[in-house]
């Protein structure tokens, strides 16, 4: 049962990980835009 519950926790946290990646991508895009603008 412990393995099953661990799997459920991982499933529940998967969208959180995707949200972090989405934020990271947005931050990188913003930074590259700022750099391009400064040049």
């Amino acid at each position: 049962m412990a393995t099953g519950l661990l799997l459920l926790v991982l499933i529940a946290l998967f969208p959180v990980a995707i949200k972090i990646l989405v934020d990271l991508e947005k931050r990188m895009q913003d930074r590259s835009k700022k750099t391009a603008h400064a040049r």
Partner: protein, 215 residues
């Protein structure tokens, strides 16, 4: 706004997960209810209550997610009302939620773990809060989910309180965990009934009254 065609296909996956969960729940419990293997027929009563609760809650969450996506992504003024939002994040939280429902359906009849079914119910009710906490800084769409999140959290807390009070002070009935579990489902039934009624009608009297408090 996400592509409407993509949303149609994406929502089919929700439908498949919901369908699989309902199929599993009905197939495992209904034969027991129609021809109980127990010596006393009332022993199948908790299973019937669990199945009914499962069906009510999964229908409520499915309708709720349909209305959420319609309001936040596809209504006429959705881009003005909710300018900051992310379809992928919202969609994946929905997938995870319905996968939890699938696991919940499979825990309907596990006899040697009496706390698994109520535990997974608690997880389902609290999961909206995880969604809210993760998205609250970056997305305006949290405004649409705030009331649902608070209602689910309050339902969880009231049910937990009922469970603990009955477990500690009431006499046992049909097993150590049965009576507290069944009474703890009462708030979930009441809230789900009201929510389904409001989701399917255009008059959201109680929801609008509650929204007045949290603004």
């Amino acid at each position: 706004m996400a592509q409407e065609g993509l949303h149609k296909h994406a929502f089919w996956l929700y439908g498949v997960l919901v369908g699989l969960a309902i199929k599993h729940a009905v197939e495992t419990v209904l034969p027991h209810l129609l021809a109980p293997p127990f010596t006393r027929t009332w022993e199948s009563f908790p299973e019937a209550v669990r199945l009914f609760l499962f069906l009510v809650l999964i229908i409520r969450f499915y309708l709720g997610s349909a209305i959420y996506f319609d309001d936040v992504y596809y209504s006429a003024d959705s881009d003005k009302t909710y300018p900051r939002k992310n379809y992928l994040v919202d969609y994946l939280f929905g997938v995870a939620h319905f996968l939890l429902f699938l696991a919940w359906a499979m825990s309907l009849q596990i006899k040697n773990s009496p706390l698994l079914f109520p535990g997974l119910l608690a997880g389902i009710l609290v999961y909206d809060a995880v969604w809210f906490v993760v998205c609250r800084r970056d997305y305006d769409s949290v405004r649409r989910m705030k009331l649902w999140m608070l209602i689910n959290l309050a339902t969880f807390l009231v049910s937990l309180l009922v469970y603990l009070l009955v477990y500690l002070f009431a006499p046992t009935f049909g097993g150590q965990y049965t009576m507290p579990e069944l009474l703890a489902y009462v708030p979930v039934f009441i809230v789900s009934g009201i929510d389904i009624a409001e989701l399917t009608s255009k008059k959201r009297i109680i929801a609008e009254w509650l929204e007045g408090f949290i603004r």
